[in-house]
């Protein structure tokens, strides 16, 4: 008999439900917090107009915050605002 039958697979899948979204997002934003960008993210979440302008030119927005807009950071922020 197989180590895994369908019932057992189902039981094991049930063992790993998703963590709350807000917890995951907060942990994912640790590098942004380290760069002092959490205020920028919060403002973008609260203000649609600001978010639109920000996403349109993320590189310039980061430079204004005194942060070098390396491609990975820009991509991480883009993903964040798409969520």
């Amino acid at each position: 008999m197989s180590r895994y039958d369908e019932t057992r697979i189902g039981e094991l899948l049930r063992r790993l439900p998703p963590a709350p979204d807000a917890w995951v997002r907060a942990a994912q934003e640790l590098p942004l917090a380290r760069l002092g960008l959490e205020d920028l993210v919060r403002r973008a979440e609260e203000d649609v107009e600001f978010r639109t302008r920000l996403v349109a030119d993320l590189e310039a927005a980061l430079r204004e915050e005194g942060v070098e807009p390396d491609p990975e950071l820009v991509e991480a922020l883009r993903r964040r605002f798409q969520q």
């Binding site: 197989s2 180590r3 895994y4 039958d5 369908e6 697979i9 189902g10 094991l12 899948l13 049930r14 063992r15 790993l16 439900p17 998703p18 963590a19 709350p20 917890w23 995951v24 907060a26 942990a27 994912q28 640790l30 590098p31 942004l32 380290r34 390396d70 990975e72 950071l73 991509e75 991480a76 922020l77 993903r79 964040r80």
Partner: protein
């Protein structure tokens, strides 16, 4: 989470300062860390959230200390375990108990390790299988809810779950599932 990138490659990218890789790493291990705190150590919501954030904060700070990049999961597991015990000890100082380690914690963690392996197999499955099995088993959605979300009859959802489980079983037995079978 994606199984295309190995744990070691993901860790290396995180260490190099790749923010997207960090987001993927958190996504990949978030369920595991969460499950250890609430299932093995039975922490309440707030304590579990504290542990969850502390695990990833320490992991972010101490990633350079990891000797074997492939060992990220057991490393996170140990870190989670230690922080859960600290949390329980802190609570026990206020209301002393004999042993803060809940009975069966080790067995539960072993079960979660096995669950993680099955989860990785699920990540290698076709998208429609990942989605339907995750919704049904992990998110506890009913056939009707999944059917409404995917615009499919409940009966189709039931048969898809059955076929996808069979495909996953084959995969776990070392055989590649035939994509057309699901």
């Amino acid at each position: 989470m994606s199984s295309e990138v190995t744990d070691a490659a993901l860790v290396a990218r995180c260490r190099a300062g790749d923010h997207v890789a960090w987001q993927e790493l958190v996504e990949r291990f978030s369920r595991y860390v969460y499950a250890i705190s609430v299932q093995a150590f039975r922490l309440g919501h707030h304590d579990a959230e504290d542990v969850f954030q502390e695990v990833f904060a320490r992991a972010y700070q101490q990633l350079h200390k990891l000797r074997d990049d492939d060992a990220i999961r057991p490393w996170l597991g140990q870190l989670t375990r230690r922080l859960c015990i600290d949390k329980l000890r802190a609570a026990a100082r206020e209301a002393p108990v004999e042993d803060v380690d809940p009975p069966g914690a080790d067995d539960t963690i072993a079960e979660l390790d096995e669950a993680f392996a099955v989860r990785e197999a699920l990540d290698a499955a076709p998208e429609h299988c990942r989605d339907v099995l995750d919704r049904f088993f992990c998110r506890d959605e009913s056939y009707a809810t999944i059917g409404a979300e995917l615009d499919l009859p409940a009966g189709t959802i039931a048969s898809r779950i059955s076929r996808c489980l069979a495909g996953l079983r084959k995969f776990l037995e070392g055989k590649k599932p035939a994509p057309s079978a699901v």
